[in-house]
Each structure stands twice: as structure tokens, then as C-alpha cells.
């Protein structure tokens, strides 16, 4: 199964050409959701910073939302470039890229979850294609976070020696 692994301290992500193409399409969907003010996933990608205080929430959004969106788009662009440049199924990621990918995968999964009608912890996508896609993205992100944790634990041990 595709996913991330660690080999001699390096993080590797295995994605065949079909999976890279699929992921590229999802990055475009997430980009659209960040830009389109009418997209229902946008409120989840750029949430309110206050609950129960509309004025404070509006002011917080005024000062932070453009910046949050710009950072998310920038990370998506970086992941897109790495995917586009990949010529083999095994993609090595440096630590910074792996960290950015983990963050982008949250945003992508947020958009897929919104499309699939997932609102609570117990919801699963009714559509079998979306269910498979959502499960695959979850596995990819989980394995990537595990890989990052493993590399960092090793790094901390190394520094103590």
C-alpha cells in the first residue's frame, strides 16, 4: 500500500503515477476551496477564531485569514511542485517538505470530508469511492506523521549522545 516510510533517516513516500495524478487533482480542489468564497469547505479551512462573539471573530478574520490562506496555498504549491517533478513512485522528502505535506494532507482531507458529509467522529462517507479515497488519504497522512515522529525521536536520541 502507498504511504510513507523511513530509510536510513530519510522520509520516503510511495505514490505511483495514478496516485500522484489523483493527489494533484485533490490539491487543485483544495486550492479552489481556499479561493472560492462560496465553497462550503472554506469555513472549515479558515475557521473562526472566536465562538459566540461575532465582532471579535470578524476582527480576527480580518487580521489573520488572508495570511492563513496564503500559507496554505503556498504549502499546496510546494507539494504540487514536488509531485509534478517526481519521475518515480518513491519520492524522498526532506524534513521541512514532509512536515508541510502532513499539513496539506489535513487541508485536503478537510475538503474531502466536507464533500462526503462527514460531520462527526462516527460519520463515514456513504459514497464508496469517497470512502476509499478518504481512507487512503488518512493512511497516507498517518504514515507520514509516524515517519516524521520516528525521524525526530532518532534525532533527539542522537543529540543526547
Amino acid at each position: 500500500m502507498s504511504g510513507a516510510s523511513v530509510d536510513r533517516g530519510r522520509i520516503l513516500v510511495d505514490l505511483d503515477a495514478e496516485e500522484r495524478r489523483l493527489l494533484g487533482g485533490l490539491l487543485q480542489t483544495a486550492t479552489d476551496a481556499l479561493i472560492d468564497t462560496a465553497d462550503p469547505a472554506r469555513a472549515r479551512l479558515l475557521p473562526d477564531g472566536y465562538r459566540g462573539d461575532a465582532d471579535a471573530a470578524a476582527e480576527f478574520a480580518r487580521y489573520t485569514r488572508d495570511d492563513t490562506r496564503r500559507d496554505k496555498l503556498s504549502r499546496i504549491g510546494g507539494m504540487r511542485a514536488t509531485l509534478d517533478a517526481a519521475t518515480a513512485a518513491r519520492i524522498p522528502l526532506d524534513h521541512e517538505d514532509a512536515d508541510a505535506w502532513a499539513r496539506v494532507l489535513t487541508d485536503v482531507r478537510v475538503v474531502v470530508a466536507e464533500r462526503a458529509g462527514i460531520r462527526t467522529d462516527d460519520d463515514v462517507p456513504a459514497d464508496p469511492v469517497l470512502a476509499q479515497l478518504y481512507g487512503w488519504l488518512g493512511h497516507l497522512q498517518w504514515s507520514l506523521v509516524e515517519a516524521l515522529d520516528r525521524v525526530e525521536r532518532k534525532g533527539r536520541r542522537g543529540r543526547r549522545l
Binding site: G49, Y50, W142
Partner: protein
């Protein structure tokens, strides 16, 4: 949060009143549960961003998961807004709140 591959550890009993917040720092950063974020990712964000040791990051992550929310920081309002801004960058649902709210 999504517990598809959760650690399966038991429910922690901490109450929201059991906070590190001191009464003289009335602003809080609250992280809310959401159905998307993975447990290992949320714990990682708490370690990476706030610098919590692993056991504390895991404790807060499980509090979010089981109780629906957790206070992850307290202090001046501007600082809490900065934290919430950062949490949104990580894709976590976070809000600023007054301690007595």
C-alpha cells in the same frame, strides 16, 4: 477526531477546570475536536508548536478527542490570538476565549 488508528488508551478524567491557567491570565487557547484530524497529527502539533513533552501532548490530544475540547495555552490575549492563528495554519479548530467566559 478520527480515531481509525487510535492508540486505544482509556478516557482521561481531567475537567476543564483542571487547567494550567492562572486566574490572572484571563485568555485561553482552546482546541476543539473535529472529525478529520488524526490523533497522531494533533499530538504532533502540540509537541511541535507548543513544545509540550510527549506525555502532555498526548494527554491534551486525548482530552480534545474525548471531551470535545481542551485548553492548550493561557496568557495575554494577543499571544492567544497568535496561537489560534497558528493552529488554523495546522488545520486545527482553535478559538480564543476568556477564562471566565
Amino acid at each position: 477526531m478520527s480515531s481509525d488508528r487510535g492508540t486505544g488508551r482509556g478516557v482521561l478524567e481531567e475537567e476543564l477546570t483542571d487547567l494550567r491557567a492562572a486566574p490572572d491570565v484571563p485568555w485561553l487557547t482552546i482546541v476543539w475536536n473535529d472529525p478529520v484530524n488524526l490523533m497522531n497529527y494533533v499530538a504532533r502539533v502540540f509537541r511541535e508548536y507548543f513544545g509540550y513533552p510527549q506525555h502532555e501532548a498526548d494527554r491534551l490530544m486525548l482530552l480534545v478527542h474525548h471531551e470535545g475540547k481542551a485548553v492548550v495555552a493561557s496568557g495575554p490575549r494577543e499571544e492567544m490570538e497568535h496561537h489560534v492563528h497558528s493552529m488554523h495554519g495546522y488545520g486545527l479548530w482553535a478559538t480564543v476565549a476568556r477564562f471566565d467566559a
